[in-house]
């Protein structure tokens, strides 16, 4: 048997279904791979060996009993440590939740279990999903499998790296400002942010409630679509979840894989013309647009004049919501408690707990958000940012009256070396320059590998109207059919 870890999720599912290998063998192969390489990659914060093998045994038993199983039954999946997993440590990569084992599963985790996927463990991330490099994890950074001295993107660097390093065929990420797509781009993998409300946030430790969107990470577009279809759909426990059927993203990915984009209109955002982006990234981007044209797509230049305000608007809205969402981490009911020795007041215990439990980026954003929401500043900052958000939404709406999808580079630069941007938060924030507008609008977007620059992966971002997730999968699969799947150097 060839190395099981090199197979795609679709291939693994087919192999397991045919009875050629057991789900336990597949799980064990990935656990072995994790044991072999994760010391160097550090994609995982927690590996649930026993849970994974138990889930795999269950799948094998159900299959042996003749039960009809879903399209991803027995396929391993890694879950970003920001989703609650019952009885399995969940920390959001923060010291403040060290050792916390939630008494419940996130809806997405429930759906993964119900689909018979095998959860390998919890992946590393920037603390509370705040960051663009996974350098802000309280448990140490994840290394990019393409170059262990470089960042894997953030905040979902662990999920992307786990896939790029063949530790898992599939992973779950969450995208607040680009945290699925941006790591996907810099690790040469596929990362999709579904329509906001298309995937449930129940059990997702909130960073910015109006932006957070869980979604799939995979090595191929088809795999991402398969995972997307398993986790998406209405959840009554999440008020913002959309009560509509999930678009058939798997069919769209299959259609795209035929390589025909005739009749598809693709918009290029004029304002993303390349300023601030590396020449190598822009070159790969132009090549992929050229490739899409050859597949029959019609290319249209579209101006989205308010996209230039997306970054500042995002950095008011997201920290504002975060400052409120993170208020519950006070040492009273769960997680870390510091200073509880009888010599400190309640307020002091809370202060000491937060001082010890939160890392620098989290503190920075809590302070920023608290300030932006405070009386006298609300209108000038939060209120103004919400107006910008409305204008950006209008830009998208009007763009999608002219084209089916918009494309841009996913990131302005390839994976950068560790420490090169941590000294200047603004330089770090620029990593999400191209991904943030979609989060403010709420529509779906995907990053798909479109080539290399200086030997490192570059991603193309495809953005679609809300609840038209299928469109982006079609275009992404078409591009993948010409560019191919990227293979990182051996670890």
């Amino acid at each position: 048997m060839s190395d099981l870890t090199r197979l795609t999720a679709a291939e693994l599912a087919a192999t397991i279904a045919s009875g050629d290998v057991s789900a336990v063998e597949v799980a064990q192969a990935h656990l072995d791979r994790i044991a072999a390489v994760d010391e160097r990659v550090h994609a995982f914060l927690h590996v649930d060996t026993e849970g994974a093998l138990a889930a795999a045994r269950d799948v094998d038993a159900r299959r042996a009993a003749g039960e009809e199983l879903g399209p991803l039954a027995g396929v391993p999946v890694a879950v970003k440590d920001v989703l609650a997993t019952k009885g399995v440590p969940t920390t959001a990569a923060s010291k403040i939740l060290e050792g916390w084992r939630p008494p419940y599963d996130a809806t997405i985790v429930e759906r993964l279990r119900a689909a018979g996927t095998v959860m390998l463990g919890k992946t590393n991330m920037d603390e509370f999903a705040m960051g663009s490099s996974t350098e802000y994890s309280a448990y140490g950074p994840t290394n990019n499998p393409w170059d262990l001295g470089r960042i894997p993107g953030g905040s979902g660097g662990g999920s992307a790296a786990a896939i790029a390093a063949y530790e898992a065929p599939l992973a779950i990420g969450t995208d607040t400002g680009g945290s699925i797509r941006q790591p996907g781009a810099v690790t040469g993998t596929v990362g999709a942010k579904p329509t906001y409300g298309g995937t449930s946030r129940y059990g997702l430790i909130a960073f910015s409630s109006s932006l957070d969107t869980p979604g799939p990470c995979a090595r191929t577009v088809h795999d991402a679509a398969l995972l997307h279809s398993v986790i998406a759909g209405h959840d009554p426990r999440d008020s913002t979840s959309i009560p509509q059927p999930v678009p058939d993203v798997v069919a769209a990915a299959r259609l795209g894989a035929t390589g025909d984009l005739t009749g598809v209109r693709i918009g290029l955002v004029t304002e993303f013309g390349g300023e601030g982006a590396e020449p190598g990234v822009m070159a790969a981007y132009r090549d992929s647009v050229e490739a899409l044209t050859k597949l029959g797509a019609e290319i249209v230049e579209i101006s989205c004049p308010h996209f230039q305000y997306a970054l500042p608007a995002y950095y008011l809205i997201a920290p504002s919501e975060a400052s409120s969402n993170l208020a519950r981490f006070d040492g009273v009911r769960f997680g870390l408690r510091t200073g509880d020795d009888g010599s400190h007041s309640l307020e002091e215990v809370m202060s000491l707990t937060r001082e010890a439990g939160f890392g620098p980026e989290v503190k920075r954003r809590i302070i920023l958000g608290t300030y932006a929401l405070s009386s006298g500043y609300y209108d000038a900052y939060y209120g103004q940012a919400q107006k910008v958000r409305t204008l950006i939404t209008r830009d998208f709406t009007s763009a999608f009256e002219q084209v089916d999808v918009l494309v841009s580079p996913t990131t302005p630069f390839v994976a950068f070396p560790f420490g090169s941007r941590t000294g200047d938060p603004y330089q770090m924030y620029l990593a999400d320059l191209f991904t943030i507008p979609t989060n403010l609008y709420g529509g779906p977007a995907i990053s798909v590998p479109c080539g290399l620059s200086e030997g490192l992966p570059v991603g193309l971002q495809i953005m679609a109207p809300t609840m038209a997730d299928d469109r982006m999968y079609r275009v992404a699969a078409a591009l993948e059919s010409t560019v191919g799947v990227l293979t990182p150097p051996a670890l």
Binding site: S324, V332, F334
Partner: protein
């Protein structure tokens, strides 16, 4: 603390004009909490009615309770409010150890119901209280301080938190400032809260028990010199928990503020607490700076847009307002204003109504509830409804009297048994052998005995002084321990003595 001599109330209202305002919180009686499916039963073991949502665990999200939204809209409609076509929840951010998320999901600038009014009657005069808003929010948990002598945080060694109450739907009803009530301000406050309680009870959306905290009142009071057009600085007296205390708190705060103003000092805008024992208000914890709640629209909840047709349906289905209902009952029962007032004051309206529905006459129902039972409730310091008799039992009792099986005295004894939980009036009558004896055979002996024992009286009756028969009736009643039917006894006496009735 310096001792100040407080001015007499009459003197206060002669020189100052009060403005009051009330914020009332009502815990809704929904089966489940505001944002999760946890039960809301009162008095359960601590922390047994909790889940990730109402504990604010990381990742948990709220999902709104439609029954609570409906109840709030009904309260708004009953208070003549407009119902918002579109509104949102907001987050009110502040820290409190019994508040799981450290923000309260509430409503801020976009409440569900606005601009209503409630007419209340004070001393036969109608006062219109304008309602600013009615909104929906979630309750917090409760903190228990143990190890100290007083149960307060001071001196406690540990603080325990019970989150059973956290997340129970809470409706807040805020009045606009009520000026111009003068000396009646305390009575207006009490009448308003009473009327509000009755309305909410009539809607069947809460048990509105102030003593259990399902209805809580914050009272705002300010004073300005008589004739002044500007209102004074107000204070907010928190969590006043009985109707009587609402009245007392306003009065006490008016007197206190007058004494402060008299001494040339300023009133500080502050939170105060009413002391049940002493009847005065004391300042809450002093705040160094104003709390900044950093309100913003709750991003975890989609905005609410109550369907106009639904609201119209709810409006059409509102029960008769208690005031109108009472007026109608008063006419049906043929009571004077004063009589009706005593029925209302005794909390007997619904009980009498139910007793009549169970077959009693209005007079009969009123007699028992306002007489014997009200006296007992008063003595024991409990609500009339908690006295131990049901409307059906009272109706049955009255029926037995009407049938001549019980006389007044016996009925009272039977009612004792009812209150003691011995069963239905009929069962008690049988079990205790309390039925009226009207069997002539059994009574004749007793009558003859009475005649023999009182020859003078018997002679008077024979001579035609029929009125003297009463004394012999009394004697017979005595020997039969009250169980004889007085009318039959009288007839027997007259016939034995050959006199005409």
């Amino acid at each position: 603390m310096t001792t100040t001599v407080l001015p007499p109330y009459d003197d206060v209202v002669a020189r100052y004009e009060p403005v009051i305002g009330l914020e009332t919180h009502v815990e809704l009686g929904t089966n489940t909490k505001m944002f999760c499916g946890c039960p809301t039963e009162f008095g359960a073991e601590p922390n047994t009615q909790v889940c990730p949502v109402c504990l604010g665990l990381p990742g948990a999200l709220p999902a709104p309770n439609r029954a609570a939204i409906e109840a709030t809209i009904r309260i708004g409609l009953a208070l003549n409010c407009s119902i918002a076509e579109w509104c949102r929840f907001a987050r009110k951010n502040y820290f409190y150890p019994d508040m799981p998320k450290n923000f309260q999901t509430s409503q801020y600038d976009e409440p569900l119901c606005v601009d209503g009014y409630l007419d209340v009657e004070v001393d036969g005069e109608m006062v219109r209280v304008e309602i600013e808003r009615v909104h929906l929010e979630e309750d917090t948990g409760k903190t228990l301080h143990v190890g100290g002598a007083t149960g307060r945080i001071h001196g406690a060694t540990e603080s325990l938190v019970d989150y059973n109450r956290a997340g129970i739907p809470l409706v807040e009803i805020v009045t606009k400032p009520i000026p111009g009530t003068g000396a009646k301000a305390p009575l207006v406050a009490r009448a308003y809260v009473t009327e509000l309680r009755d309305i909410i009870r009539s809607l069947d959306v809460s048990d509105v028990r102030m003593e259990q905290g399902s209805m809580r009142c914050d009272v705002n009071t300010s004073l300005s010199p008589a004739g002044s057009t500007e209102w004074g600085t107000r204070t907010e007296t928190k969590n006043v928990n009985s109707l009587r205390s609402v009245e007392r708190a306003v009065r006490a705060e008016m007197i206190r503020q007058a004494s402060v103003l008299d001494s040339g000092e300023r009133i500080f805008q502050e939170t105060r607490h009413f002391q049940e024992d002493t009847g005065d208000t004391r300042p809450g914890r002093s705040k160094e700076e104003a709390t900044d709640y950093r309100y913003f629209p709750e991003p975890d909840l989609v905005p609410m847009a109550p369907d106009a047709a639904w609201v119209a349906e709810l409006k059409a289905a509102l029960p008769e307002p208690p005031r109108v209902h009472r007026k109608r009952l008063q006419e049906e029962w043929g009571l004077t204003d004063l009589d009706m007032q005593s029925v209302v004051n005794a909390g007997a309206v619904e009980l009498i109504e139910a007793t009549i529905a169970a077959g009693a006459t209005a007079a009969g129902a009123r007699k028992w509830w306002l007489g014997e039972l009200a006296r007992r409730a008063n003595e024991e310091g409990i609500e009339l409804s908690a006295v131990g008799a049901t409307p059906a039992q009272v109706a049955e009792l009255q029926q037995l009297v009407d049938e001549g099986k019980l006389n007044d005295k016996l009925a009272r004894a039977v009612l004792e048994g009812v209150v003691a939980g011995e069963g239905s009036p009929r069962e008690i009558m049988t079990a205790r052998g309390l039925g009226v004896v009207s069997d002539t055979g059994a009574l004749t002996a007793a009558v003859d005995e009475a005649i023999a024992a009182n020859p003078d009286i018997a002679a008077k009756i024979r001579d035609g002084k029929v009125a003297a028969a009463g004394a012999l009736v009394g004697a017979v009643m005595k020997t039969t321990r009250g169980q004889a039917d007085a009318k039959t006894v009288r007839e027997l006496i007259l016939s034995r003595l050959g006199a005409q009735g």
